[in-house]
């Protein structure tokens, strides 16, 4: 069937087309509270369907060039995936009690299974996502997942975070280079130097936090000396300052590590997305302001906690809007032609497949 008059798409331009988010906190509130209530009433079973409704809402409201993304997973698929993982954990625990040796072997098996589950999870997430009637796909293997999701994090921890950028690069390359839209490939190669720039900023923030703690301890030296002089107990008049100092120290640590992680996350996303190219010529871009992102996240947390969670839908929508409006695509050539080519390739993934989720990649 020939398509003569296609629905209007922007003409050829070098413009960046930004994503937008069209949902509202008011609308999401109902979906969110019903999800929670039904999940409790059904002893957790509904959570799989809740996830589908939540994702359909967020994907559907993520709009590029006037059209939203779509999430096609079925609640049953997600439930089966969860039952399999849960069943494995139960068998594992039972065996660990009865035959400890088999349990240890099963634990080793998890080490092999984990990358496979991660790979399956990424594939599932990609395949149940579509844009303009064409599905995404993920073609990564187990080896890449092993490197990106097991070797990387272990290396990062062992080097006290110094090699975290390397691990992040592996992860983004694994995901970015194996992602497909229809049969067209994405490619990405985030530069290590650029990631380290972000990492240095985060390291500085942590250092600053430690300095503040050092300073607080320093100006409260009298307490520290009192403890050293009299290790049997702190004099009662110094107990309150001691507690205050402990609380301040804890908050500073929490805040500086939290901000450092957020700054790193935003900077990393910018570097990785901005180095991603679709089909060899169309560029992606992420331009989150690092401190804007920190601000949105922290105020979201604060508002959510202060309202006992009731403002969480508002916070989620606010975050989605913030991230989407800082994400853009630039098509080289006529946008209509881009999608015509995708059409010619036909479907890469059959719409019907028995698939289960494996490992949820939501987090």
């Amino acid at each position: 069937m020939a398509i003569n008059e296609s629905a209007p798409l922007p003409a050829a331009s070098e413009d960046w087309h930004r994503l937008s988010f069209t949902g509202s906190g008011k609308e999401y509130f109902g979906i969110w509270i019903v999800n929670i209530l039904l999940t409790i009433i059904t002893v957790g079973i509904y959570s799989a369907w809740a996830k589908v409704r939540r994702n359909r809402y967020f994907y559907g409201n993520t709009v590029l060039l006037g059209r939203g993304f779509e999430y096609h997973a079925k609640g049953m698929q997600i439930l089966i995936g969860r039952i399999i993982v849960f069943g494995y954990l139960i068998i594992y625990n039972v065996l660990l009690t009865i035959v400890p040796l088999v349990g240890i072997a099963l634990a080793a098996l998890i080490l092999v299974l984990l990358p496979w589950l991660v790979m399956r999870g990424l594939r599932f997430s990609a395949r149940v996502t579509s844009y303009r009637n064409v599905r995404f796909n993920f073609v990564g293997g187990v080896g890449g997942a092993f490197l990106a999701f097991l070797v990387g994090p272990v290396l990062a921890v062992l080097t006290l975070g110094i090699l975290t950028p390397l691990a992040s690069r592996w992860t983004y390359r694994y995901i970015g280079n194996n992602m497909r839209y229809g049969t067209k490939a994405f490619t990405t190669d985030p530069g290590l130097g650029a990631i380290y720039k972000t990492w240095f900023l985060s390291a500085l923030i942590i250092l600053l936090g430690l300095l503040i703690i050092g300073f607080v301890v320093f100006i409260n030296m009298s307490i520290v000396f009192a403890v050293i002089d009299n290790p049997q107990g702190i004099p009662p008049e110094l107990q309150v300052p001691m507690i205050v100092m402990g609380v301040i120290g804890y908050l500073v640590v929490l805040l500086s590590f939290g901000i450092a992680a957020l700054v790193y996350h935003a900077g990393l996303r910018n570097v990785a997305w901005s180095s991603t190219v679709f089909d060899g010529k169309h560029s992606l871009k992420s331009d989150l302001s690092r401190f804007g992102y920190v601000w949105v996240t922290l105020t979201n947390v604060l508002v959510t906690l202060l309202t006992l969670g009731l403002m969480r839908p508002w916070a989620a929508v606010r975050m989605a809007r913030y991230v989407n409006t800082h994400t853009a695509v630039r098509f080289s050539g006529d946008v209509g032609e881009v999608f015509a080519i995708v059409q010619k390739d036909g479907s890469a993934v059959g719409a019907e497949f028995m698939d289960f989720e494996g490992f949820d990649f939501g987090f």
Binding site: M1, I3, E5, S6, A7, P8, G23, E27, F29, G30, I31, I33, V34, I36, L37, L38, T39, I40, I41, G44, S47, R54, R56, Y57, G60, N61, G68, E70, N93, P100, G103, R132, V134, G182, P231, Q232, G233, I234, P236, Q239, M242, I243, G258, L262, L298, N300, V301, T304, L305, G309, R312, A316, M319, G336, F339, A340, Q343, S347, A351, F363
Partner: protein
Amino acid sequence: MASDGQIVASGEWHPANSSLSVVARLTETSTGLAVERVPSGEILASGGLAGVQISPRVGSIPRRIDFADGSLFETTDNDAIDRLLARSGRRATGLVHKLERFHPRLIVLVVATFLMAGLVYRYALPVLVEVAVAVTPPVVPKIMSVSTLETMDRTMLSPSRLDAGKQREISAGFAKIAALSTRGAAGYSLNFRAGGAIGPNAFALPDGTLVLTDELVELADGDDEMIIGVLAHEIGHVELEHSLRQIYRAAGMAGLIMMIAGDVGSSVEDLLVQGGGLLALSYSRSAEEAADRHSVELMSKAGFDATAIARFFVLLENKLGDRSGTNMLSTHPGTPERRKAILDYESALRAKRQN
């Protein structure tokens, strides 16, 4: 050729597997549904209502109408599709979507959710914790304890500076009560450490490893019986599996929140897990009182002064000025009420024996 149907909604139509779309409208005909091109009216797809799949409504995101030939019609006119479904006798809107709509009724749902969450916390969580404790293989507390002690040794504790004679004295007293406990003397090991940051303290790890700090021994000032009383209290924590319960409680809380709320945001999630971890460090008030009673029973069985542990609280009150109800940095809040509860329990026990 144009269909003679009634227009339902306008939107875009995609051929099967194609990203290209044409402006189109959905019409209702005598045989079912048809999609026709705008403005020519050429029929692009058609099918009986039973043969097409209409996606359930979520908020106001576009509706998908999938035809049997794989083509897709998409429209943002949700209400029109709902009316179509209502006319054709299907349920107009999913029940779930009806509930979800912004409406004063949502207040009832919020209240119901809070109530249900409260019930889960009050009744379901303890059951889950008991089940988890029951099925935990003994290696797990063993591994947990070994790694906890290792971490504490590396960060806060240092080798004891008590002289060997004093250590032997306390160990001998401890052996007496440990032998009378359910797990027997072999179930426990007593370790001496210099407390550093944790000061005068004693704590029990779930596998029966007990740690006693030099500072506590010094605080006791020769009152070994009181130290044994404190250790009997720690045995109580082990026998009643308090720390395992506490860990499962924290883990269960985090898990339930993640499962129920689905998305609480990763930052809030992190905060909750952090908070859970902090909570896991301190026993609940009822756990403390249960361990106190355990101490009273064990001490009287071993022929010691059953209320020896009460003297510890007197000491805490006098020396550390701890008269507060709760001390947030202490894992064992010493309160005058607890001392009173111990004395009451002891006299009740004695009265029962005399009857």
